[in-house]
């Protein structure tokens, strides 16, 4: 329906109170293309009744003051970051109409990464790129889109290929990406150009309203002040000089065929959230008796081996088991300088009091799964401490005579059960059976819950039992008969 009267669109403020000074005109120079682009955008928002939903992201540059004019949501972005700010807005308010309005410094120079990636993500927004091939606000400096030979305050002898390379063709770059739905370059140099721009602006905004994705409209715009020309000459300059380098055409338009996509934000109940966060997997502690806790002396552990032997997991499962007794626990993996000798290792501390340093240097219990671990940590074990050696792999005996040592074929026991990886559970089963520190049933309860791969749960409980059985048959039995050294 053709309008009877063409007048200031309602999407503009009636009066520009935020501006100060002459509050019915813009701050733009006479003939500046920003004014035209603003009018076309405001008209489109008006005609499509999107004023309440629109969020205008203004950049840094001459149009940093766009929020003076647009009577809609406004958010001002740091230089070059409008597409990122727009992303944050759109992801938060999926029904918003996000407009990222940017100049050539903002988009083609400092913000080149942001625009490239917002486009590549197909962010649901309309980007209006005002290309006037110069930095207006800061006083006429060269832009990424300045033409070869163009004199500016920072290319006083004219832009040269050797020094500054070529004018950057953003629309062409955008069109190489798959996600953008609509990419067009147009100009404001004459009525036809302005009306083409009008169509492109409306299509970009309509696309967003229909959930079609990322639209990019590059608008060649006159900058009489920056180019030191009359408005008329500036418009001619666009047609004679800029259009050959920046052809005005549609580079890509899948607006009709593109499937709409509307991001839904579901609301969950607290229970659903708790479940999604996988909380409460270990169940509540079942402490045996207060006395146990009160008399518990702090125990420090070090589990060492190579990554695949599950030494880190062994520490975690032991700590989780100890929590059944309401003990304070800490676990920390080898990280940093102590990763010597290529061994993965972790420190575990169990205590009735708040734990200070979680890093165990002098363990009470040291479990080693391979030779480098024994070599590396053997002398750190406290006198009178317990050393558990995986004798399936480590052939040698310890040199220490002031400690208690268990040589257990952990890997063999585990592989006989059909799950070599469960050697770490065999270790824990053996340890608890030997020391009776914590009830074996707690370990069997916790082991499956602590493991990432749930399907191995039963096998791991079996491994715990196998470890305990080995100690009963090879250590405890021998102890009651005759304390002979263990083979």
């Amino acid at each position: 329906m053709a309008k009877d009267i063409l007048q200031k669109p309602g999407a503009f403020f009636d009066q520009f109170d935020r501006k100060g000074g002459a509050q019915k005109t813009t701050h733009y120079c006479p003939g500046c293309g920003h004014g035209n682009a603003h009018k076309l955008i405001a008209e489109a928002i008006d005609d499509m009744g999107l004023q309440d939903r629109a969020v205008f992201v203004s950049p840094v540059g001459c149009s940093v003051f766009a929020y003076y004019y647009f009577d809609m949501g406004n958010i001002q972005a740091a230089h070059g970051r409008a597409p990122a700010v727009g992303t944050g807005v759109k992801r938060t308010r999926p029904n918003s109409i996000v407009i990222s309005y940017q100049g050539d410094g903002d988009l083609a120079s400092i913000g080149s990464a942001e625009i490239l990636h917002a486009a590549n993500r197909g962010e649901q927004m309309a980007v209006f790129f005002i290309n006037n091939a110069i930095y207006g606000m800061t006083g006429g400096q060269m832009a990424a889109t300045s033409l070869i030979g163009q004199k500016t305050t920072t290319s006083p002898y004219g832009r040269t290929v050797e020094n500054e390379g070529y004018p950057m063709q953003m629309a062409e770059i955008m069109a190489t990406l798959r996600a953008p739905v609509f990419v067009q370059r147009c100009h404001l140099a004459d009525s036809k150009g302005i009306m083409d721009t009008r169509k492109a602006v409306r299509k970009a905004i309509k696309n967003q309203a229909e959930g079609k994705g990322f639209s990019f409209v590059e608008i060649l715009s006159p900058c009489p002040t920056g180019w030191k020309m009359s408005t008329h000459d500036a418009c001619e300059y666009i047609k004679t000089n800029m259009l050959p380098i920046f052809p005005a055409k549609v580079f890509k338009d899948e607006s009709e065929t593109r499937e709409p996509f509307f991001r839904e934000i579901p609301t969950l109940t607290d229970e659903q959230v708790i479940k999604a966060l996988e909380l409460g997997m270990l169940g509540e502690p079942q402490p045996r008796d207060e006395k146990f806790l009160k008399n518990f002396t702090t125990m420090k552990y070090k589990f060492a081996g190579f990554g695949g032997q599950g030494v880190l997991t062994a520490g975690v499962i032991l700590a989780a088991t100890a929590m059944q007794e309401n003990l304070q626990v800490s676990w920390i993996p080898s990280y940093g300088p102590e990763m010597r000798g290529g061994t993965a290792n972790c420190s575990v501390v169990l205590s009735k009091d708040p734990i200070g340093s979680p890093l165990v240097v002098k363990p009470d219990v040291l479990a080693v799964m391979n030779d480098p671990s024994l070599d590396t940590f053997e002398n750190d074990l406290k006198p009178g401490g317990l050393l558990i050696v995986n004798s399936s792999i480590i052939a040698r005996k310890t040199k220490r005579t002031d400690i208690d040592t268990l040589y257990i074929p952990l890997t063999d026991i585990a592989s006989k059960m059909g799950l070599t990886a469960a050697a770490n559970m065999v270790l824990l089963g053996a340890y608890l059976e030997y020391t009776k520190l914590l009830p074996l049933e707690h370990l069997k309860l916790i082991a499956p819950r602590g493991l990432k791969r749930k399907e191995l749960a039963d096998k791991n409980v079996e491994a715990v039992e196998a470890g305990a059985k080995w100690v009963r048959e090879n250590i405890t039995a021998k102890k009651t008969k005759a304390p002979a050294p263990v083979a």
């Binding site: 001002q76 970051r81 700010v85 944050g88 304070q328 800490s330 920390i332 734990i355």
Partner: protein, 346 residues
């Protein structure tokens, strides 16, 4: 009760605190926060997005916060440096968010081991302009949960970014954590952009061109920081009352100093520990009081003395402040620190 990695506890706590979005860029040792966010946020209808850089990430946070979301990001030293402009913009636009800085050794690329060398750029505002941000310094997995929830509360109460200043070791630890049982439902903010009729007049911006306008805004911000200093100082004291030597340390170092305190107290020495839980607002008043009581101090840090400057400012020129530090990712052992402290107690 969970046994959970501290870096992961931050994410679960954030979600329970009503956080719906995470924008970030991978960097050791903060990547676990990103990975946990990537795993859990989509499952609760939230948004996880890996940005093309930390610069883009903080500006996505700016946009999301401007649109009224509770939003989080995480990084380590080098990434925090890249985010500073964005943080200055958020402080100026009075936008709430939570930023986790899992510190690593610097400067430059440095290495991935723990250090406390971001105090200056985080606590004293590494970006441009007269701004400050609230900085919390957890030292265990439970605090990584509790202080995350507190961070979101304070961020909105004072409309400011809030940092969780932690480090590689704390992030890696697994400890028991009790999580809240319900999720916070943040109230609508009258200043934010909801893309609806009621909010379409709102403007999120940090530009003040009217004469005197920016000064007025600066004064308003300084008043806010004074309010924060009045109400939000937090610290923990262990056996400070009768202590001759008060050790000062935060984050992972405070865990080491707790062990040192236990050992030296058993040896009969009167030593105590003061642990800042808020780096800004700093516990200057309390330090001043302790200095007034004639205490001597031992500041222990993994930096060239970035917190030391604030301690010295607080205790004044008459107090004795010893300083012990390691840098470059080397973490002193409890034994090493015990010997240092004993040296000042003999």
């Amino acid at each position: 009760m969970e046994l959970i990695k501290a870096n992961e506890a931050v994410v679960k706590a954030a979600i329970l605190a009503g956080c719906t979005q995470y924008y970030g860029y991978p960097i050791t040792p903060a990547s676990e926060v990103a990975m946990a966010s990537a795993k859990y946020l989509p499952k609760v209808g939230g948004t996880f997005l890996q940005a093309e850089s930390e610069v883009a990430a903080i500006n996505m946070v700016y946009g999301a916060s401007g649109a009224g979301a509770r939003v989080m990001t995480a990084s380590s030293g080098p990434g925090i440096s890249l985010k500073q402009e964005g943080v200055s913009y958020m402080a100026a636009s009075e936008l709430p968010c939570v930023i986790v800085d899992v510190m690593r050794a610097g400067p430059g690329l440095g290495n991935i081991w723990p250090e406390q060398g971001d105090w200056n750029q985080v606590v004293h505002g590494g970006g441009h302009g007269n701004y400050k941000v609230i900085v919390l310094t957890p030292n265990c997995a439970q605090e990584m949960c509790d202080l995350t929830i507190l961070a979101f509360e304070l961020a909105e109460k004072y409309r400011t970014p809030v940092y969780l200043l932690t480090d590689a070791y704390i992030g890696q630890m697994m400890e028991p954590v009790n999580f809240p049982k319900e999720r916070v439902k943040p109230a609508r903010k009258d200043w934010a952009l909801y893309a609806d009729a009621d909010s379409h007049k709102n403007l999120v911006s940090s530009i003040f061109m009217s004469t005197g306008g920016l000064e007025e805004h600066n004064i308003h911000l300084q008043e806010k920081y004074a309010e924060i200093e009045k109400n939000e100082v937090r610290y923990q004291e262990v056996m400070v009352e009768d202590a001759d030597l008060v050790m000062i340390g935060y984050g992972f170092i405070s865990r080491m100093l707790l062990s040192v305190t236990e050992i030296l107290r058993e040896e009969g020495y009167k030593v105590g520990l003061l642990r800042p839980i808020t780096a800004f607002p700093f516990c200057s008043k309390r330090l001043e009081e302790l200095a007034g009581q004639g205490k001597t101090f031992l500041d222990v840090e993994l930096s060239n003395g970035q917190m030391l400057r604030d301690v010295r400012l607080a205790v004044g020129k008459d107090a004795t402040v010893h300083f012990y530090n390691r840098m470059g990712g080397i973490v002193p052992s409890v034994e090493e620190l015990t010997n240092v402290a004993r040296g000042y107690l003999k």
